[in-house]
Amino acid sequence: MSTYSVFSLIKNAFSNHQEWDRAWRDAAPKASYDVIVIGGGGHGLATAYYLAKEHGITNVAVIEKGWLGGGNTGRNTTIIRSNYLWDESSALYEKSLKLYEGLSQELNYNIMFSQRGVMNLAHNLHDVREGMRRVNALRLNGIDSEWMTKEQVKEFVPAINIDQNVRYPIMGATLQRRGGTARHDAVAWGYARAASARGVDIIQNCEVTGIRRLGGRVVGVETTKGFIGAKKVGIVTAGHSSVLAAMADFRLPVESHPLQALVSEPVKPILDTVVMSNAVHVYVSQSDKGELVIGAGIDAFHSYGQRGSFHMIEHQMGALLELFPMFSRLRMLRQWGGIVDVCPDASPIIGKTPVENLFINCGWGTGGFKATPGSGWVFAHTIATGQPHALNAPFALDRFTSGNLIDEHGAAAVAH
């Protein structure tokens, strides 16, 4: 794998860029692997990368039914933060955030991680109370977090409206300065390239149609390219987790819902912070390309259709203009939907399944992108050792039986 740098760019310019390698090898499936990762999104690719890097397991295939990063990895609003309420969650997301902080250099692929700050607005006393609770919890967990008065909010985000004579005035906000955004596709591509360089086979356009078991153990997967044997299999197919689980004859506490997002036409820099509001239900940031990237809540109904209803967008725009009246004349350029797996406690499931050597990583709901490196890191550990890492042990499937849920509903009332 040739190294990416400004020097390699200049060098290649002289040969009219004819000499660049493929970013990753497009592999044909082998007869069997030590580990098959089903799902070539960010989480799956990160899992394969860390299996190779942290655990020396390189006889690994990532099987993707479409194109890499074509699921939620390429459909989210790219927000990264670790300001979760409960200790278990903040530890997991903080691991992820820390991995993000050096990821461009580690992968030698610029994922454009931009720590421009994530701000959560408070519009009523309840919001203020919850914000304070979170700021204090994060701070005592050693994670950066601070409270801002409405005047500080205005100073940090000059475009925002802090007029108190509006329907939902801004009373303050929490801020995580280390939060921000990254280029979502680049995360998938960067992991794919780095995993491929370590020997991982990346197999696109290959759909898993069955999970073959023998005596309660997984032995491989049936695919549109034939049977592929495996000692261990990890399912990382956000949006379709229940479909894969059904192939192995178990059910999940997961429902698939549409989550919509949209971008504006690009404009010159006007918003340097990620601004989120649970109360009015919208979140917005401006990409490096100049587009305002905007999201809101999930549609209520189940869907695998990658699209939702227009009234969600209407509501979202009302909320946006409540915060930023000056954006009224900007225009929606593109709108799309993803499919998110939602767990009853709005926390993920990472661990074993009822089938031996079959592992699952799902249920990230609306928060999967920010977790990509951490999720891959702990899932690789779980697959490699057969046991969860301390960071993901609380997120096992059996918490739904014991009742030890990690209820982040308060944390994720708005999707992001």
């Binding site: 990416y4 009523n124 504006s264 690009p266 009302g318 009224s328 009853p344």
Partner: protein, 1006 residues
Amino acid sequence: MTNTHRTPTGGTVDRSKTISFTFNGKSYQGHAGDTLASALLANGVHLVGRSFKYHRPRGILSAGSEEPNALIQLERGAHTEPNLRATQIEIYEGLTASSQNAWPSVEFDVGAVNNLFSKIFVAGFYYKTFMHPQSMWMRVYEPIIRRAAGLGKSPQEADPDIYDKMHAHCEVLVVGAGPAGLAAALEAARGGARVILADEQPRFGGSLLGSRGETIDGMPALEWVAKAEAELRSHPEVTLLPRTTVTGYFDHNYLVMAERRTDHLPRGSKPGVSRQRLWKVRAAQVVLATGSHERPLVFADNDRPGVMLAGAARTYVNQFGVLPGRRVVVFTNNDSAYQAALDLHDSGAAVPAIIDLRKSVDGPLARKARAQGIRIITNSAISEVEGGKKVRGVQVQALAADGETVTGPAESIACDLIAMSGGWNPAVHLFSQSMGKLRYDEALAAFVPNLSVQAERSAGACKGSFALPACLAEGAEAGRAALAAAGLDAAEPARVPTAEALEEQPLRPLWIVPGKKPVGQKGKHFVDYQNDVTAADVLLASREGYQSVEHLKRYTTTGMGTDQGKTSNVNALAILAKSLASPIPQVGTTTFRPPYTPLTYGTIAGRDVGELADVARVTPIHAWHVEQGAVFEDVGQWKRPWYFPRGAETMEEAVRRECRAVRTSVGVLDASTLGKIDIQGPDAATFLNRMYTNAWLKLDIGRCRYGVMCKEDGMIMDDGVTTRLGPNHFIMTTTTGNAAKVLDWLEEYLQTEWPELKVYLTSVTEQWSTASIAGPKAREVVAALAPDLDLSAEAFPFMSMKEAVVAGVPARIFRISFTGELSYEINVPSHQALHVWREMMRVGARYDITPYGTETMHVLRAEKGYIIVGQETDGTVTPFDLGMDWIVSKQKKDFVGKRSYARPGAVDDGRKQLVGLLPEDPAFVLQEGAQIVEDADNRTPIPMLGHVTSSYYSETLGRSFALALIKNGTNRLDQAVYAPLDGGRIVKCTVTKPVFFDPEGVRLHG
């Protein structure tokens, strides 16, 4: 000198009306009916913008909504708007526009230095660099990228215009008022259907507006259009919507349209009228007649100002009477551009040559051109464009046999316009949005509709039928079929408008037109103009493995501009397919997502802004609260008085005064917002017994009981007092925020789990307005209001209810308390509540009756250790955690939530319990949300025990106090814990029981 390029006659602009406008600080004139693009071209202005990445000079490519280049910042100040297409802006008197992405000017743009580094700035270059040192990304590289990106500028002020919305229903929605759309609308209208005909242009006619010489039903095409429009207007059930873009096609035939109502008028000239209107249409049937977009040819430096789509050139001369060039070279791979050549020639432009990629041409159009003396150079290509900020000429060379290179000597031909055509793409965007499946048509070299999913049909050019007779026939057929599918009978036989067919010869798709040097070496073959994506970029992406269409788009950004790739998608896809040596349909197609053209946020929000942004629910007493100067708190959608400051009182002072009044005399709270549910039926008690955690079968009539409702997971969802009004009749109260949720919850169980229970629920939240009178003097006030009522503790004990006439109004009085004081909640019908309230204040004046708000309520209830759902609970708290074991029945076999208490997680040692906290400093009020730890230690991370849920200064206690949920809290009584606050202060607190005032409840029962 103005309108140097206006033809003496022709076009549909109103030459009698001259309109002045300003572009880049210079004044120009145009005519009514001009777009900004046509008016600029009439003035000889081609250079209108700079490209996104390389800052290349750019002109006007198209004449419609597909324009990628001519993006404009329109107006200044509050009315300013970025990224508008000059091809769609109708000019109006005083219009002010400027170029974007250029500094200091579009003529001399410093950013053009980027073009020099374009060898490095290839597709995806930023993924390969700017990584070292790590800190430089945020500090240096990214800010430069951000400043360079973006196009126009956001307004900096609130929008002075208003926007609104309209729902509409119809049997047939026809999208596009070209020949196919008009023919469809006519057939549907004649059958009596409700028809909506929408078109993005100001005038109906579609492609006919830019045509010349065509006839329909024996009359000139535009005459037929006028006649069709007049007939449609005569049908009462037809709605005609010009300037209306159908932007989104959603599930179940729900379509969204944006109507521009005042954009063609001087800004601010129609106060009170919405600028843009969002139509939300539910159509039984849809006819898509959305036309097609011409494709550019991908040749070297095909982006120079003066390179224009041939169809657009034709439109400018025919519709606007503007010659976009005086000496026009036509470059094509199909017949349609010959029409442009002929019309331009006919209007006085010189057409030195038609350069045709096809090996030979001999159709009727070619013969006509030859007859006009126009030279046709076949099997040849433009191998070089001369001129930078404006085309000066072309070099033409013959194609090699395989079409991959040019060969032989180059001929220079001087020209000031290149009118090109690479074929046509049916505008399948809405069809694709409707989830219809596309098919690649080899003959057209384009995608056409194949399988429909929703109730729609395509007709005309958007279906790949470009010839006028076919458009008309398909339109009429589609209109008729839609009519039938909507269940209506056609009244008469179809009347298919007739037109003359012109035979066309097949096109020759040559996705990359070879230049003098190989692609990527000299000259740029642009695929996506707006995002500066070249054929070399597409090939590079493919080489690097970004070979799915979506990878290609995302890696190169082709098709991601404000035009959403209307002109570039198929070219990019075809070049990718070529690089992979795969057939185009195997490589795939891109997904067209809403909106078809960008839609202002204002339009999407409509009137949901300002005071209409959301409902502000108010109680019947609200007017009085406002009179009293109350400060309000948002509780859900409700406006509740938070506190009632007197004079210059601070909130703290007001709350202390209010608390004092309640504890020493009497106060009153507007509790109207509490949810109230009337429950009737023989099984009402049984039902309550299943929904609440405690027992309900034996409650006496006239008695009240507090209840807690949990979800099946055992966590508290709501609480409140329910009263038995009769053997089969109860009235339940809920918290303010959960009123609707609880009613829904109860209905769900009644209807879906226990339909055999005979119970009816009726919401009476707003039937009753509630005044909660509390304090030692409460009895006196109630006595004065209801003189006939026996208020003695024996006759009217705590937790009971009486009906009585209060201030002349029949009322229900509940002796219940949330403050710990003697308290009566008087419920009267809402329409007489304000009268009763005023009477109460009048008779209470002698006891200095004091209105209090939610803050005082919170302090008083916390002194008593009463919880607030949503404050002491957060969806993870059981009644046991709150020390409320007493409210969970041990006897009942089942109730909602009971089973979950037997799970391991519910009896875990690590669970938190509600306790009281007394800060060591009695004057210091802890922050709500402060976290509690075991040791006075400032290290982080540090394990946390729990958090402060409520915290106040108590006027009654003369000190601060708090409630908190703490791990193992019940075993920590009298122990010290610590709250490390932001800023380093560590507050020592003593754990207490969560009841601070009158623990025996003497005052309640008094």
